[in-house]
């Protein structure tokens, strides 16, 4: 079957580019044409510098002609979430606060992609400052789920997931603090990996919650995801939380043939939609048939995960976003007679409601008289959660749950109740709290709407997750699915 270029996997594209049957320029031109037709419907990209990506593609083709291909990603477009710095490109975080900011430097991952010869392809929409689960909090534009344009794509990496599901790009970067890669991947029927905390440098990722944030690869297959991960996961002395060479385990590690899969007790009863339960049970049946042991595990502190996350994440965010005051860069209010007024007005004009809510909450949980009751307790709860997960993962290879309790909801449906949205993150949050790698893989549908399953592993066990994911996707038809647009 001859697929259009936009339907090919990154692996296949890489092979054709290497074989010389395809040029990067031809690929990029095809994607630009599709972008012009489809992006207006989906709203995944907030910017695409067409002249620049063509120039990059030409340069890549020239390198290849001279025998200087830089590796498997040479000439392959990778779209980038608008909170990851690319020198000379916007770094808006989908916020009015940074709407005019052009980044003067490259993130570590950007440098890595350049060294790999990849094409840095456009800027992707997101929830403002990565705060949200639907991308509705973008101050720039709306993004819609390619499978049903009346629904949200998930968030905060909604632009990344939608771009992949709409066939606008073969690979994308997202960022994940409480599920922001995995949840939109699940809602859009694509694959998303949040690496072990510390595996991928955060230098150049606009910070939301420093101890939780990670950049991760997103693609239409686990195999494609792995290709991208290998380029991203390298040491970086500019991020003290990033593993140095001596603390890294080699990727990939030979995964055991039959995995032990842990299913947390009671998870499927937590407000999970029936079609999601059904899809998960099919997944478990599949793995059982492959000879995997399915074991129930106890995670008694699971109820603490969402409050713990929202205390820690908002606390760190309230501090990380303190720098946005209109003094050195970004939006500056014109109404002010003294600096305090100027900073206050700039922030109030520049930030949207969800950002303000989280800053207020974070300020509260750190404030004098309350820090002990909230922030310090949350750190202790986090230690407990992490210990339970590590304990469980000492007995099984991976933990398996749905990625999200329910499929994508309609645009505007949950806009007035932040708490509802926070509870969406119930399956994804623990991996961020515990710093563990986690993968979402498409496994079913609710009508047209994709459903994903979620695997969590021990630190630096990405190879096991990817092996389990590849095992599933090879036997099912969910890889490379694209919405007809």
């Amino acid at each position: 079957m001859s697929n259009a270029l936009h339907q090919l996997s990154a692996v296949e594209l890489s092979q054709r580019l290497q074989a010389g049957t395809l040029t990067s320029r031809a690929l990029v031109d095809a994607l630009i044409a599709r972008h012009e037709a489809v992006n207006p419907k989906v709203g995944a990209f907030t910017a695409l510098d067409i002249a620049d990506v063509r120039a990059q593609a030409d340069a890549s083709d020239e390198r290849r002609r001279q025998g200087k291909s830089r590796g498997p990603l040479e000439g392959i477009p990778v779209a980038i979430k608008d909170n990851i710095a690319v020198k000379g490109q916007p770094l808006t975080c989908s916020s009015k606060m940074l709407a005019k900011l052009v980044s003067p430097y490259d993130a570590h991952v950007t440098e890595q992609l350049r060294s790999a010869g990849a094409i840095l392809y456009g800027r992707l929409n997101m929830d403002e400052f990565a705060m949200g689960s639907s991308t509705e909090n973008s101050a720039l534009q709306k993004t819609f789920n390619p499978w049903d344009l009346s629904r949200i794509p998930g968030g905060s990496s909604g632009g990344s997931a939608a771009a992949l599901a709409a066939g606008l790009v073969p690979l994308a970067l997202g960022s994940d603090t409480g599920g922001s890669i995995r949840q939109p991947a699940s809602h859009c029927g694509v694959v998303g990996l949040k690496p072990t905390y510390g595996l991928v440098s955060r230098f150049g990722l606009v910070a939301f919650a420093s101890s939780l944030d990670q950049i991760g690869p997103m693609a239409r297959s686990v195999e494609d995801c792995e290709l991208l991960l290998q380029v991203l996961a390298t040491p970086d002395a500019r991020d003290m939380t990033c593993f140095d060479a001596s603390h890294r385990q080699p990727l990939p590690v030979a995964a055991p043939a039959a995995l032990r899969i842990g299913v947390p007790r009671g998870f499927l009863g937590k407000g999970v939609a029936p079609e999601v339960v059904q899809a998960l049970e099919s997944v478990l049946d599949f793995y059982r048939r492959q000879g995997c042991a399915i074991v129930e595990v106890d995670l008694p502190s699971a109820d603490l995960a969402v409050p713990t996350y929202y205390v820690v994440a908002t606390a760190e965010a309230s501090s990380n976003l303190g720098r946005y005051d209109g003094v050195r860069y970004g939006h500056r209010s014109t109404q002010a007679s003294n600096p305090i007024e100027m900073m206050t007005n700039s922030r109030s004009e520049g930030f949207g409601p969800e950002v303000k809510r989280r800053i207020l909450l974070g300020t509260f949980v750190l404030s004098a008289g309350y820090a002990d009751a909230y922030y310090v307790r949350a750190l202790r709860a986090r230690a407990k959660i992490r210990a339970e997960y590590l304990g469980a993962l000492a007995k099984v290879d991976v933990l398996l749950t749905p990625t999200v309790p329910t499929p994508a909801f309609k645009v505007g449906e949950k806009a007035s109740d932040p708490l509802q949205l926070y509870l969406e993150d119930i399956f994804t949050i623990p991996a961020n709290l515990a710093g563990l790698p986690a993968l979402s893989v498409p496994c079913g549908r609710s009508g047209q709407l994709p459903i994903g399953f979620h695997l969590v592993g021990a630190p630096q066990s990405e190879a096991k997750l990817l092996a389990a994911g590849k095992l599933f996707e090879a036997a099912h038809g969910f890889a490379h699915q694209q919405a007809a647009l």
């Binding site: 003067p104 510390g198 101890s211 002395a237 003290m240 939380t241 140095d244 603490l304 969402v306 409050p307 713990t308 929202y310 205390v311 309230s318 209109g326 003094v327 050195r328 860069y329 970004g330 939006h331 500056r332 002010a336 007679s337 003294n338 600096p339 305090i340 100027m342 900073m343 206050t344 007005n345 922030r347 109030s348 930030f351 409601p353 303000k356 809510r357 800053i359 207020l360 909450l361 300020t363 509260f364 404030s367 008289g369 309350y370 909230y374 310090v376 307790r377 949350a378 750190l379 202790r380 986090r382 230690a383 407990k384 992490r386 210990a387 109740d417 932040p418 708490l419 926070y422 710093g435």
Partner: protein
């Protein structure tokens, strides 16, 4: 109302100016969220705080001066500048 949650005080600390409507709405929404945090207040927690991250001196940086942005780049990014410095409205005198 969650005990101690004073939205005006918090807005001032966070340098945010809220409209009266926003104050009411956000206070209500955040109080609902804080209500959900009761599990955290009541849980039996170990004394130890999460400090998984520890590094040796190998992670420290050598004392070799690296590149600067240059005053030109700094003032170019800044909303307002004068003679290489970033300008802001007059800081109110320190003396009370």
């Amino acid at each position: 109302m969650a005990e101690g949650f004073d939205i005006e005080h918090l807005a001032k600390l966070a340098r945010l100016q809220l409209t009266p409507e926003e104050k009411v709405l956000y206070a209500q929404q955040l109080n609902s969220v804080l209500g959900h945090f009761r599990a955290l207040a009541e849980a039996d927690l170990p004394a130890q705080v999460d400090d998984a991250l520890v590094v040796s001196e190998a992670a420290l940086r050598a004392d070799n001066p690296g590149p600067t942005l240059g005053a030109e780049a700094v003032t170019r990014v800044a909303p307002a500048s004068r003679d290489g410095q970033i300008s802001v409205p007059r800081v109110v005198d320190d003396e009370a």
